[in-house]
């Protein structure tokens, strides 16, 4: 079940995985939006960007409500940065940690709501900028993009080794998700029903 990622770079790896998964889920995204997502995935995968540092050095998540409140107090340029971070953190967290969010105080829907709204605000604040269409598209398709990231996360966990694969299996048992079932079938964790072809 283990396999090396044979890719020249993390960005190329995510670009190919994103293309594969959006194609499978029939989610159409503008090229510039895909570019934005590839950068986001690569940055969060190799840095601590998802977290903030506490005074005692501990890493922690910023509560989304505090980020939002902070954005409301800021000037335009700062506000755009904070709202964009709110969108990015919400998107990544809802996509990659949906299992943990299910049992958390706030569920994935809260992140989807907050993140989508944040990207919408960024699009309004930057109508003339080139990236406005990216934020608009991420706002409109936030839930679909979360589902794309969920599948990317699951495929990554299955590739990482048996304990990751078992976590995906447990999540599938808990949720009955067709997407996770497809990931497990593709990884050979379960036999395909007779007559079912690999797509």
């Amino acid at each position: 079940m283990s396999g090396l990622v044979a890719s020249l770079s993390l960005k190329e790896f995510f670009k190919s995985l994103l293309g594969e998964v959006t194609g499978r889920q029939r989610v159409e995204l503008a090229e510039v939006t895909e570019f934005y997502l590839v950068n986001l995935l690569s940055e969060f995968a190799v840095t601590d960007k998802l977290f903030t540092r506490e005074e005692d050095g501990r890493k922690d998540h910023e509560p989304l409500a505090i980020l939002y409140h902070q954005a409301l107090q800021q000037e335009r340029a700062e506000r755009i940065r904070t709202l964009r971070r709110l969108g990015d953190v919400s998107l990544y967290t809802a996509g990659f940690f949906s299992g943990a969010l299910q049992s958390g105080v706030v569920g994935p829907d809260y992140y989807i709501q907050m993140g989508g709204t944040a990207y919408g605000h960024v699009a309004e604040l930057t109508p003339a900028a080139g990236f406005a269409q990216v934020y608009r598209e991420l706002c409109e398709k936030f839930r679909k993009v979360v589902e794309v990231l969920e599948e990317i996360s699951a495929r990554g966990m299955v590739q990482a080794g048996p304990s990751g694969a078992l976590k995906v299996y447990e999540a599938w048992v808990r949720t009955g998700s067709d997407r996770l079932e497809r990931v497990l079938l593709d990884a050979g964790m379960m036999p395909r029903p007779k007559g079912q072809l690999v797509n």
Binding site: M1, S2, G161, P162, S163, L166, K167, Y169, G188
Partner: protein, 213 residues
């Protein structure tokens, strides 16, 4: 690698142990001071002090050196190159996790139970590394290599020798009974049986391994 094996065992048995085995690893000198025999590459050292249970896990420098090349890559490679070394490390982590888990539930553990569970754990961990197409052949190879092609250290006492052989016999019977789930790739049933047996207490576990009753 110690942490990855613990993660793997916890994923198989469906629980999380707050104590991390790698934190309890001691070197040769410390192991000797704590009463380790130094006869094996892995030893779990247990000391009961009133209500408290103190644990230390000894893994020989030679064993850790052997496994170092496989630290960063996929663990699947070590199964081809050094299955015996990987299984020794897995056995140490298995002992640590089982004692910690049973202590948390207020149960005591017999040495036979500990050894038999470790044999099952080694089979389960290696099996799931290659779960997928062709896992049946891999499982048969594991049964042969882990339970039939075994040898015991010459310096074992009669009692120790009996315990290892008995643990091998009991766990082999249990693992052989799992083959139906393996061949059908029924992960749900495999995990269900493994988890049920793991949570059984001493006598019940050994009976279950032997007869499935």
């Amino acid at each position: 690698m110690i942490g990855r094996v613990q993660d793997h065992l916890e994923a198989i048995y469906g629980f999380t142990c707050e104590a991390r085995a790698e934190v309890f690893v001691v070197d040769t000198e410390a192991a000797a001071q704590l009463g380790g025999t130094g006869r094996a590459d892995e030893e779990l050292l247990v000391h009961e002090a009133g209500d408290a249970l103190e644990l230390a896990l000894y893994l020989s420098p030679a064993l850790l050196d052997r496994l170092k090349p496989y630290e960063s890559g996929p663990l699947g490679y070590v199964l081809d190159s050094d299955l015996a070394g990987y299984c020794q490390l897995a056995e140490g982590v298995s002992h640590f996790l089982y004692v910690a888990h049973t202590a948390a539930h207020g149960r005591t553990v017999s040495l036979l139970e500990l050894e038999a569970q470790a044999e099952v754990d080694k089979f389960a961990v290696c099996l799931l590394h290659r779960w997928g197409e062709g896992v049946g052949a891999w499982a048969r190879e594991l049964l042969h290599r882990l339970f039939e092609r075994v040898s015991y250290r010459k310096q074992l006492s009669v009692q120790e020798r009996w315990r290892y052989e008995e643990a091998n016999r009991l766990s082999r019977r249990f693992c052989a009974r799992l083959m139906g789930h393996v061949v059908a790739r029924r992960l749900d049933r495999l995990l269900g049986d493994l988890r049920y047996a793991y949570r059984l207490g001493a006598e019940a576990k050994l009976r279950h391994f032997a007869h499935g009753g």
